[in-house]
């Protein structure tokens, strides 16, 4: 019976599926990993469920993903967020850092490099004050 939940928000269905399958394979059955193709859908899951980690790709626009991150901070401040993006730029990094995102990785990243970031995010102590200045894991390739 899974007792931890990871929500993926990615509008690229193939990439989302691979992230889900890969993490599922690496983390095992104790984790339930679900996919939402839009920030709205992801927010509905996060708002009503007990999500342990949100993995979000802001996409090329990044606007509504930013709104999702802000909503998470406002209403689910203890849920860690990992931004996993194919559109890595210094501007996006700065924007996500300003939004309080603690974990950031740029695609294409191999699972063997992604896994430590995910496990680190999942182990994060759920104390709100410790959320913002946390270690900023910045995986670039």
């Amino acid at each position: 019976m899974p007792h931890r939940q990871i929500q993926i928000c990615d509008d690229d269905s193939s990439a989302a599926l691979i992230t889900q399958r890969g993490l599922q394979s690496l983390l095992g059955d104790r984790y339930c990993i679900t996919i939402a193709s839009t920030p709205n859908a992801a927010w509905l899951v996060c708002a009503h469920g007990n999500i342990d980690l949100l993995i979000v790709d802001p996409g090329s626009g990044g606007g509504s993903a930013g709104a999702l991150v802000r909503a998470m901070h406002a209403f689910r401040p203890m849920t860690p967020i990992l931004v996993l993006t194919a559109y890595d730029t210094p501007g996006l990094r700065a924007k996500m850092r300003d939004l309080g995102v603690s974990y950031y990785a740029a695609k294409p990243i191999d699972f063997k490099d992604l896994l430590p970031i995910v496990t680190s995010a999942l182990r994060m102590t759920p104390i709100p004050d410790a959320f913002f200045p946390k270690l900023y894991a910045c995986h670039h390739r």
Binding site: D12, S14, A15, L17, I18, T19, R21, G22, S25, S60, A86, Y87, D88, T89, P90, A106, K107, P108, I109, D110, F111, K112, R141
Partner: protein, 470 residues
């Protein structure tokens, strides 16, 4: 008897007439001799004037002209105890003695002394008696003393003055001091001194004009050369701007494409990873998976380079030692050089200062060029890295030149204009981005990169980086 008396009277009359005629003949002879003497004198003076004018025509130097005029004036006017030629200084605020048969005084105001009178006079003047005394009395005590020391006899008995003038412009004066009673100057001398002064004025003016023309020609040549240099710099800057704009456009496109490829690449690479997890360790498919992963990895590297082309890897500006960077880069490729039978030598100037730069980016530039040099020497060769500090122009900042020379196959002339264009490559597996990125980085540092190459002789890449205060 009457007839005899009559004859005697006639004889007496005739004798009287004869003596009158003789006396008149004597007078005429004296007059003729005087006129002859004057004619000889005049002829001599005219000859002298002609000689002077011929000499002045071939003179090439103002000082030579004034010396000649003064020397000839003394011989042309007997009894001259001193001859002075003055010229107004550049600001017309004083008369400067340019030549004298004796050293003499300099007048601070153009109106001072006999020279001042000569300068202001419309034509030549003869001063004698009270006029000369009055003119001399205008001088200060020190000027009188200096003048007295310079004259053979004091006070002068007469003086000839003439302005140096050309087309109504007066710019100097000729002054002769007469000191011998037997040769007092005469009004007949006036046309000669004015002629001498005019000849001198024309010669000096022509030389001055010639000097001014030469100076203007030099200025024009210098201006033309500066203009050509500025034009060349402008053209280079425009070409650089165009190249930068092209690079920026290509870079933006590259970055955009790179981003779009990242998602499928991520999916493809990790799909292979997941497939691999389910395969037996001995499954023959593993070999193909490895190839697929390797090639996807290659795509990922190309994509990364394309993205970095638009947005170079993050690096901090810091005080950077170019020589140390070059040594580190050579150290990095040491094994590569050894395997390629390439002898590397560094000739690094100790004068190279620290510059503010992105060290990682410059290291990437040096590495790119050195690795290209290695590729150009498949059978080995010599690699020489040299630095020097120079200043192109006095107002320009000091520039560091880094030369990386190889003895390789050289670059064919048709490839040279495209070397720094993105995606232009002659290598089978090249991306065509190495030199484009290098040029981009160097340009971002305010520098330039150039190449010289000879087929079968080798190539030299020169990087010019401006220095800055650290």
């Amino acid at each position: 008897m009457g007839e005899l008396e009559h004859l005697q009277q006639r004889i007496a009359v005739l004798e009287h007439r004869l003596s009158e005629a003789s006396a008149h003949a004597e007078i005429v002879e004296r007059e003729a001799a005087l006129q002859m003497s004057r004619a000889v004198d005049l002829s001599a003076r005219l000859s002298a004037i002609l000689s002077i004018s011929a000499a002045l025509l071939i003179s090439r130097d103002v000082d030579a002209v004034v010396q000649l005029v003064v020397r000839e004036a003394v011989s042309l006017f007997p009894g001259t105890s001193a001859a002075h030629l003055f010229m107004a200084d550049s600001e017309q605020s004083g008369l400067v003695l340019r030549a004298a048969n004796n050293p003499a005084v300099i007048f601070n105001r153009p109106s001072e002394g006999l020279a001042g009178k000569a300068l202001l006079s419309p034509r030549a003047m003869l001063l004698v008696g009270p006029q000369l005394e009055s003119a001399l009395s205008d001088l200060r005590e020190d000027q009188i003393c200096a003048l007295r020391d310079n004259l053979k006899t004091w006070p002068p008995l007469s003086a000839l003055l003439a302005p140096l003038r050309v087309e109504g412009q007066r710019f100097g004066a000729l002054v002769l001091y007469g000191g011998v009673h037997a040769h007092l100057y005469h009004p007949r001398d006036l046309p000669f001194i004015q002629a001498l002064a005019d000849l001198a004025a024309v010669a000096i003016d022509e030389l001055s004009q010639r000097n001014r023309a030469a100076a203007l020609q030099r200025d024009l040549t210098l201006t033309q050369s500066l203009h050509a240099e500025a034009q060349a710099r402008l053209s280079a800057a425009q070409a650089q701007i165009l190249q930068s704009a092209k690079l920026a456009a290509v870079g933006e496109l590259s970055a955009s494409v790179a981003h779009e490829i990242n998602n499928p690449l991520y999916a493809a690479r990790n799909s292979l990873y997941l497939v691999e997890q389910d395969l037996d360790p001995d499954a023959p498919q593993r070999a193909f998976l490895a190839i697929a992963q390797q090639e996807l990895g290659r795509i990922a590297r190309i994509i990364t380079r394309m993205r970095d082309f638009y947005r170079p890897a993050r690096a901090e500006l810091a005080a950077t030692n170019i020589n140390a960077l070059l040594r580190e880069t050579l150290e990095l490729v040491q094994t590569h050089l050894r395997h390629g039978h390439i002898n590397a030598a560094a000739d690094l100037s100790s004068e190279i200062p620290l510059i503010i730069a992105h060290a990682d980016q410059l290291r990437q530039v040096f590495l790119n060029i050195i690795l290209n040099a290695c590729d150009a020497m498949p059978d080995g060769g010599d690699l020489r890295v040299k630095t020097r500090l120079f200043q192109a122009r006095s107002e320009a900042p000091m520039t560091i030149e880094i030369d990386i020379c190889d003895t390789g196959v050289g670059i064919p002339p048709e490839h040279r204009p495209h070397l720094f264009e993105p995606f232009y490559t002659t290598k089978a597996h090249g991306t065509g981005l190495g030199l484009a990125i290098s040029a981009h980085i160097v340009t971002q540092h305010g520098g330039r990169i150039m190449v010289e190459s000879e087929l079968r002789q080798g190539s030299t890449f020169s990087i010019l980086l401006p220095t800055s205060d650290v």
